[in-house]
């Protein structure tokens, strides 16, 4: 064991961590926007919208993320970062759409009926009655999804985006100190994941079900 190697490569590890964090942050924002939109559309009474969104999630969930990222990078010849980002967003948006849909459906149907009976329009009921309740329910499963984004972002190392996993491989190639590098990267990944879990727990305390 030679842990000094980590100090020697601290700049590389730091760069990798920064890349991983901002890539994941963008992917989280993007996949939440797309996923919540698709999930909400899928929870409307419209038959065709439900079928279309179901097809979207079914298609994207049954393909590995690696396939999507390589498709954008090699087949469509996109630059590395947009290819990685698009792959991550598309992949996770399908899961987030499912989580959102399940959250909306879990708000009791009686709430919708009561709102409609009071003479509100569908969108009014959706916006002011169902959505606020669904947001609270959805926070814990959403945390799982965001942690999954962090974990999945390691795949972009395979198309040479210089994230944490990529830097680990570089250290391994240059010094054969794979064990130390992998340990450091794992610890850093766990810290980022814990950061997400912690902030989502805070959010849950603020707005969630008590």
């Amino acid at each position: 064991m030679d842990w000094h190697i980590l100090w020697q490569y601290r700049a590389a590890l730091w760069d990798g961590l920064v890349t991983t964090v901002w890539l994941s942050a963008l992917a989280i924002v993007g996949s939440t926007a797309v996923g919540v939109l698709v999930g909400c559309l899928g929870a409307t009474p419209s038959f065709y919208l439900r079928r279309l969104t179901a097809a979207y999630t079914e298609l994207l969930r049954n393909l590995p993320l690696l396939v999507k990222v390589f498709f954008f990078y090699f087949v469509l010849s996109m630059p590395t970062i947009p290819a990685a980002l698009l792959g991550l967003v598309l992949h996770q948006s399908a899961y987030i759409a499912d989580v959102t849909g399940a959250g909306i459906r879990s708000v009791a149907r009686g709430q919708l009926d009561a709102g409609l009976a009071l003479g509100h329009g569908y969108w009014q009921v959706f916006r002011y009655v169902i959505l606020p309740q669904a947001v609270r329910i959805v926070i814990p499963p959403m945390t799982t999804q965001y942690v999954a984004v962090i974990k999945n972002s390691s795949i972009v190392a395979l198309i040479a985006v210089q994230d944490l996993t990529y830097q680990t491989q570089q250290i391994n190639v240059e010094t054969f100190r794979g064990f130390e590098a992998a340990t450091a990267a794992t610890v850093l990944y766990v810290i980022v994941a814990l950061g997400i879990i912690g902030s989502m727990t805070l959010l849950q305390r603020r707005v969630g079900v008590r």
Partner: protein, 256 residues
């Protein structure tokens, strides 16, 4: 005459007509897709069909062996986490959570690159792939098993304690059969996830489906055709497993 459009509108609103329109729409899209696929030049790809099929078979083999081995390892982990004495319980929890928080690709690299450094023996990439996928399967299945054990209402164990059954026979004859029944859909969902995860061992050079596609592409350069085969191979495999879940429990919502 004036009734005509109104009737048509009403007819469009009936669920059966909607389903029919949806199916026709899907049919048209599929036909267009099929025409586009047939327009591609398949002569360069066609000779590799057996190679690609072998790759797909290897992916299936990896997934099935890993979920079996992982299941065997997950059972004691889950039992330790649920019923273990205080020290062991926390240790099992920490182990499961740490591995679950680590990216799957990092686990693959860990087993392939750092296990030889720790133990001193060389690991073949195939064994490293099986090992890392088994580790991944084990921790996720441990959580499935735990959820399954918790899904049995507490009243069941209290009732069997009241009738004088021992702790062990309560577990074996009352808790376990119900837990297993509740677990099956989540188990199959894990198999879908694991099948997709097998694509990661591409990184350590195992010739599974994804790598066999990229190798073929490097040789004949037909990215559109090969990526179509790739997408279809993964989609149909995972879709088949998903359908098995629906067949087992039509009400089950598949959430990994």
């Amino acid at each position: 005459m004036t009734d005509q459009p109104v009737d048509l509108r009403r007819a469009m609103r009936s669920p059966r007509v909607k389903l029919l329109i949806w199916r026709i729409g899907c049919g048209v899209v599929l036909m267009l897709a099929l025409r586009a696929v047939l327009d591609l030049d398949w002569t360069s790809v066609a000779p590799s069909w057996l190679f690609l099929l072998t790759g797909l078979g290897r992916s299936w083999l990896l997934a099935i062996v890993a979920i079996t081995a992982g299941g065997l390892a997950a059972a004691p982990l889950a039992l330790a986490r649920v019923y273990g004495p205080p020290g062991i319980r926390q240790a099992a929890t920490a182990l499961i959570e740490c591995v679950r928080a680590t990216p799957e690709l990092m686990i693959v690299f860990w087993v392939y690159f750092t296990l030889p450094i720790v133990t001193g023996n060389q690991v073949t990439s195939w064994n490293a792939a099986l090992g890392s996928l088994s580790v991944i399967a084990a921790v996720y299945l441990a959580e499935v098993f735990r959820a399954g054990l918790y899904s049995v209402p507490r009243g069941q164990s209290e009732a069997s304690a009241a009738t004088g059954m021992s702790g062990f026979s309560t577990f074996l004859y009352v808790i376990l059969p119900q837990a297993v029944r509740n677990m099956v859909p989540a188990l199959i969902a894990q198999l879908v996830g694991l099948f997709k995860t097998t694509s990661l061992v591409y990184a350590i050079g195992v010739m599974e489906f994804f790598r066999s596609i990229t190798v073929t592409n490097n040789a004949v350069f037909a990215p559109y055709q090969l990526y179509l085969v790739l997408a279809l191979g993964y989609f149909l495999s995972c879709f088949a497993i998903t359908r098995i879940v629906r067949w087992y429990d039509p009400k089950y919502q598949l959430l990994e």
